[in-house]
Amino acid sequence: MVVEAPSKKQCQGADCENAASALQCPTCQKIGKESFFCSQDCFKRNWSTHKVLHQNQSNPLRTLFPPKVISEPDPATGHYNPFPTFPYTGSLRPVYPLSPRREVPKRITHPDYANDGIPRSEQKFVGRNNIRILDKKEQDGMRKVCRLAREVLDIAAREVKPGVTTDYIDEVVHKACLERDSVCTSPNEVICHGIPDQRTLAEGDIVNIDVTLYHGGFHGDLNETYYVGESASKHAASVRVVETARQCLDQAIKAVKPGTPFRDYGNIIEKHAKSRDCSVIKTYCGHGINQLFHCAPNVPHYAKNKAVGTAKPGMCFTIEPMISLGSYKDKTWPDNWTSVTSDGSRTAQFEHTLLVTEDGVEVLTARLSDSPGGPMPMPVEANGEKPADTNGDKAADVATT
C-alpha cells in the first residue's frame, strides 16, 4: 500500500519545454488529479486553458456538494485509502474499511464520555488548576485499574508480530477488557491517536499500543512501543528512537516526588532527547488522571514551559513523552484524529500512570516480570563496529525499567 513519489514529469504548460517542478495545481490535487508546472508564472500564463480541466463534471450541485474522492477499493481485499489526495508525509497510509464499532455490554460501568466522546465531568468548572489528592481508598482504586491496564497491554503486546493487523490487536484488547469488567477508552495508536485498521504489521515496524482502562470508577493509562519482528531491533535508527523515548520517561519518573513542579519534567525529557539527537513532539502532554481521564495537571514534555502546579502525595498523573528522530512538527490526517510527523520520520512513545507518595513515586502501571517487550541494546554491525547512526552511544546503554 506504499504510494511512490511522482517521477520526473514535463511541465503541463502548453508550449513549455521545462521539466515540471515539485509544485502542482492545488485544485487538481483536491479532485485527485496531478498537474505539475515548472513555475507559478507558467501556471498563470496557462490558467485559462488549464482551469477547464477542473470542470470535468458539469454538475451544478458540484459546488454545494464537493466531490468525495476515495480510491477504488481493491477488488481482492476490499481495502481502500479513504483520503487518496491527502499529502501524506511518509509511507504510512490508512487502510479502510474500519471494523464496525465494538459493543461493550451495559453491565460494565461506562464513563460519562462513552457515547459521544464529550467528557462532561471534565468540563465542569472545577478550577483549572485544582489537582485532586486521592485518599487511601481512591489510591487503591487507581492501583487496581492500572494493574488491569498493564495486564491488558501485555496481552495485546504478545500478539505483535509481522502479519497481524492493528485491528486484530484492538479486538484482543477489547476482549481482555471485558474479561476484567473494564471499558477500554482509547484506541490503539499509531504515533498517537491512530484508528485501528486493516494495515498489517510488517517486519521491521515499530508500533505503539496505548491502553486506557476504566474500572471501578477510575482510569488507568499506559503505552509502550514495541519492535515488530526480528529485524526491527537491528535497525539502529529505530532502536535509537525507541530507547531514547523509554529513557526519557524513566529519567522523568526519577524526579517525581513531593515538591517537584510539573514544569520540570519537560526540561529533563528534552535534555535527554537532544543528547540522543532526537526531538520531542510538543503537541501532546501528560495529564492528571483519576476518576477523570484527563484533568489537571498539564505535564508538557518540552523544556521552557509554564506548567502550573507541584507534586503532592496522593496526586496521580501521567508522563507520556513522544520522541521523534527528525522534525518535531506534526500533522493531522483528514480523519481528524491520526497524527504523524511532518517529515514522516519514526516516533516512539512510552507512558506510565504515576502516584506521588510521601517520599517519592509509585509507578502504578509498572512492568511485570513477564511483560513482553523491554529495552534493546543498540545494534552492533557485523564487523563489530558501531553503525554510524549511534551518535557515540555504547551498546550496553540500556534502560533500567
Partner: protein, 390 residues
C-alpha cells in the same frame, strides 16, 4: 472548501501542501532558528466602549500591513469554525479558521492558536492579529491561551491586552455592576470583601487602558475616571480619547511587547503612591534585593506559593483572601544579569533580560484585596523572610 473558479489562479503547492513562497518545515538541524512571529493583541471592553471603532481605525490606518481580526474570544472548544477577517492593502476578505476536531483534552495548544498558526503556514505571516473579545469577557481566561510557551516555537506571541472603557459609564459599571456584570468566582473559595465586576477584571489585566468618549464628560469627571483606573491598575498605560482615535498606534495599541519586556520606568511609576480608591482591586509593589542563583530559586519558590497555592509563606492567616491578576518585575542578579518577571493569574515565568548593574529589584502586582497597607507589609515581610532563608 474552495468553491467557484476564480479568474486568477491559486498558488501552486508542493506535495506536502505548502506553497512556493513559504519556506518548508524546519529541518531537524534548524530547530533553534528564530521564527518570524506575529503579535496577537487582545482588545476588550464593554459593549459600546468603542472596540469596533478602534479596530476599524487600525485597519484603515494601517493599510499595507497584513492584519487579521478575529471577533469574539476563543476558549469555547465546541466551536468548529471561526470567522476571521484578513485585511491587506485596505482590502478585507473573510476567511474561516477551521478549529481541528482532534483530542483537545490532551493537546497543549489551544485549538484557536493551532488554527491561526495553520492559516499563517498556508498564507504567510500576519503583521498583526487583533482579537476582539465579547463585552463581558474576562481577559484573565483568554490571555493564558495565547501566552504560548517559548519551548513550543509558536509563530504567534501575546503582545498585550488593550481595554477600552467608556468615560461616561465606567464609574457606574465599577460601583453598581448589574448581575451579569459581576465577576464570577474562579474557584471554590468565596471572595470576601466588596464585589467586583468584569470591568474591574478588564482593567486589572490591561496593559493599555483607553479611556474613550472623553468628549462626553466634563474635565472633573474625566479626572475622576482616570484616577479610579490608575488606582486599580498602576502599571498600564492610560490614554484618553474620543471616538477611539489615538495619535499613533505603535507602542500604544500595537507593538506593546507587554509580555516579554518589563520596562523599568513603568515599574517606577507604579510604585509611586496611588490612592486606593477602588475597594476591590489594587496595585501592590515590593522591593527585591539583589539575588544570587540560590536567591533566584528561593524567589521562584515564593512565587509558586503565592501564585499557584495562593499562600503567603510565613504569614499567619490574618490577611483576607486575595487573588493576583497580573504581576511584573525586574530582578537584578549579583553577576550583573537581569531577570524579568511576567505573570497573569497563576501563570508566570522568569526570563533573561540582558545585563544590568546590580540594583534593588521591584515586583508589582495587581489583584483583588491587595491594596491595603497591611497587605503590603505582610507581602513584603513574607518575601524578605523567604529570600533570607539559607
Amino acid at each position: 472548501m474552495d468553491e467557484d473558479e476564480e479568474d486568477s489562479p491559486p498558488e501552486l503547492v508542493a506535495n506536502d501542501g505548502s506553497n512556493t513562497t513559504v519556506p518548508n518545515e524546519l529541518s531537524s538541524g534548524l530547530q533553534d532558528v528564530k521564527l518570524t512571529r506575529a503579535p496577537i493583541t487582545i482588545i476588550t471592553g464593554y459593549l459600546g466602549a468603542g472596540k469596533t471603532t478602534l479596530l476599524n481605525y487600525i485597519l484603515t490606518a494601517r493599510h499595507g500591513k497584513k492584519i487579521a481580526v478575529i471577533l469574539n474570544e476563543f476558549g469555547n472548544s465546541t466551536e468548529i469554525e471561526k470567522s476571521l477577517t484578513v485585511s491587506q492593502d485596505s482590502v478585507s476578505s473573510e476567511q474561516w479558521l477551521e478549529l481541528a476536531n482532534g483530542c483537545i483534552c490532551c493537546s497543549v495548544k489551544d485549538s484557536g492558536v493551532n488554527a491561526i498558526e495553520s492559516l499563517m503556514d498556508r498564507q504567510g505571516t500576519f503583521d498583526y492579529i487583533l482579537l476582539e473579545t465579547t463585552g463581558l469577557a474576562d481577559p484573565g481566561n483568554i490571555a493564558p491561551l495565547f501566552w504560548v510557551d517559548e519551548g513550543l516555537g509558536s509563530t504567534i506571541y501575546l503582545d498585550g491586552i488593550v481595554t477600552l472603557v467608556d468615560a461616561k459609564n465606567l464609574l457606574r459599571c465599577l460601583n453598581e455592576p448589574t448581575k451579569e456584570e459581576e465577576a464570577s468566582e474562579h474557584d471554590e473559595h468565596h471572595a470576601t470583601g466588596p464585589l467586583h465586576s468584569t470591568a474591574h477584571l478588564q482593567i486589572s489585566h490591561a496593559d493599555v487602558i483607553v479611556v474613550n468618549k472623553a468628549d462626553l464628560v466634563t474635565d472633573e469627571e474625566l479626572q475622576a475616571v482616570q484616577e479610579r483606573v490608575r488606582s486599580i491598575n498602576a502599571l498600564a498605560e492610560v490614554r484618553v480619547t474620543d471616538h477611539s482615535r489615538l495619535p499613533q498606534l505603535e507602542g500604544l495599541v500595537l507593538d506593546l511587547h507587554a509580555y516579554d519586556k518589563v520596562d523599568a520606568g513603568s515599574l517606577e511609576f507604579a510604585t509611586k503612591g496611588h490612592s486606593h480608591l477602588d475597594p476591590a482591586i489594587g496595585t501592590l509593589s515590593l522591593v527585591v534585593q539583589v539575588l544570587d542563583d540560590a536567591g533566584l530559586q528561593r524567589l521562584d519558590a515564593w512565587l509558586r506559593a503565592v501564585l499557584w497555592s495562593r499562600e503567603l509563606p510565613g504569614s499567619n492567616s490574618d490577611t483576607e483572601d486575595w487573588d493576583i491578576h497580573r504581576i511584573k518585575g525586574r530582578v537584578s542578579m549579583t553577576d550583573g544579569k537581569l531577570k524579568m518577571l511576567q505573570g497573569v493569574r497563576e501563570i508566570f515565568e522568569l526570563i533573561d533580560g540582558g545585563e544590568s548593574s546590580p540594583c534593588a529589584g521591584k515586583i508589582v502586582m495587581i489583584g483583588r484585596n491587595i491594596g491595603s497597607q497591611t497587605t503590603l507589609s505582610a507581602f513584603q515581610q513574607s518575601l524578605d523572610s523567604a529570600l533570607a532563608a539559607s
